[in-house]
């Protein structure tokens, strides 16, 4: 199933990329030139990709020599082409995988247009879940999937085949202060998620959480 076209105006994000390499004035002028020639409306959309590809080089050529244009062109085209992946899976075997997982989560969220705070929350949820797997189960995985909706959501699923969480209901009721801190993490995730579920038993644990992008 192809995701519906997200009619996002890419102008702001293209401008941000340009401003990393050009003065504010030059960046604005490049963007304006690209928009005038590439877009049929006042905005830049993913469907304008072919035109953006045609216009970005010439627009930059007024300001930069060819070798300096290349990285900017690549970055702008990556933006216009849209996110290349809508789901990732990170295996959690040891502590350092927790780091990998949350960085990947932040990246995926950002690729799909999440603001810094939403990306931070998603990465934090992943960190909590991955740490629980590494600390208590030893072996599992975290999967992130972008749901097209609408509304667009980030779905986070953490699975392991560890010993399971005893007294899940008690922990989630908030009345029990777990000695291990596991409870705080799960309660925190639930507080931030619009959908949340935990299924845990002797065969392992599965936590699902979803948040709007």
């Amino acid at each position: 199933m192809t995701p519906p076209v997200v009619d996002e105006d890419l102008s702001a994000r293209v401008l941000a990329v340009l401003r990393e390499h050009l003065s504010p004035l030059s960046a604005a002028l490049v963007l304006r030139r690209v928009k005038e020639r590439a877009s049929t409306s006042e905005r830049l959309h993913e469907r304008d990709l072919a035109a953006i590809a045609r216009e970005i080089g010439p627009a930059l050529s007024f300001y930069l020599p060819p070798d300096q244009r290349a990285p900017i062109m690549r970055a702008v085209l990556a933006l216009a082409a849209g996110p290349r992946r809508s789901s990732i899976r990170v295996a959690i075997e040891r502590e350092r995988d927790v780091s990998t997982a949350r960085l990947a989560a932040r990246e995926l969220a950002t690729e799909h247009g999440a603001g810094t705070l939403v990306a931070q929350k998603i990465a934090t949820i992943v960190s909590e879940l991955a740490r629980n797997i590494a600390g208590y189960a030893g072996h599992g995985a975290v999967e992130l999937t972008v749901e097209a909706g609408p509304p667009r959501m980030m779905l986070i699923v953490a699975v392991d085949n560890g010993p399971g969480i005893a007294d899940v209901d008690l922990i989630l009721s908030g009345r029990y202060t777990s000695k291990t801190g596991l409870g705080k993490g799960l309660l925190g995730i639930r507080a931030m998620s619009s959908r949340f579920s935990v299924v845990s038993g002797g065969a392992g644990t599965r936590v699902e959480a979803a948040m709007p992008l």
């Binding site: 502590e95 350092r96 927790v98 780091s99 949350r102 932040r106 810094t116 705070l117 931070q120 929350k121 990465a123 934090t124 960190s127 909590e128 740490r131 600390g135 801190g181 705080k184 993490g185 309660l187 925190g188 995730i189 507080a191 931030m192």
Partner: protein
């Protein structure tokens, strides 16, 4: 990486200890840090510890618990801990999760934390100028310039 390479540095700052944290802290590093901090508090008679987290981009409930434990242990040795430099995204996320530092002080930045530990800045214009002033006052027989005009 050896333990030495990943050991978190502790910097003496007058009678305080400055601990700059970067990235994430694994359990091994946390244990080593705790031992190092306790030893340094004792040998330097430190009365304050600044945990600076401005180099940390994500704090989850586990890291908060690690830092809170570190602060509790330092307090047992009479040292006050202030956590400084939490990024806005971290603060907002912890708040949304209902996770926080109930018993550990936090501050916006290092300057604020130092001030709260009783350390303030007096900026001198030039080392040479201070000497001139000191000599002149001594020659004039003024020991306390603040009170020179009191009768």
């Amino acid at each position: 990486m050896t333990d030495e390479e990943t050991r978190i540095p502790i910097i003496k700052l007058w009678d305080c200890l400055l601990v700059p944290l970067q990235g994430d802290i694994n359990d091994r590093q946390a244990d080593m840090l705790t031992v190092d901090v306790l030893r340094r508090i004792q040998t330097q008679d430190a009365r304050g510890m600044l945990l600076d987290v401005s180099g940390v981009w994500l704090m989850d409930s586990h890291l908060c618990a690690v830092l809170a434990r570190l602060a509790a242990v330092a307090q047992l040795m009479g040292a006050r801990t202030i956590i400084s430099g939490m990024k806005p995204e971290i603060v907002l996320t912890l708040q949304a999760m209902g996770v926080g530092f109930e018993r550990t002080e936090t501050s916006l930045n290092l300057e604020d934390a130092l001030q709260r530990l009783g350390i303030s800045v007096v900026r001198h214009s030039d080392a040479g100028d201070d000497d001139v002033v000191a000599e002149a006052l001594a020659a004039l027989g003024v020991t306390n310039p603040e009170r020179a005009h009191e009768s």
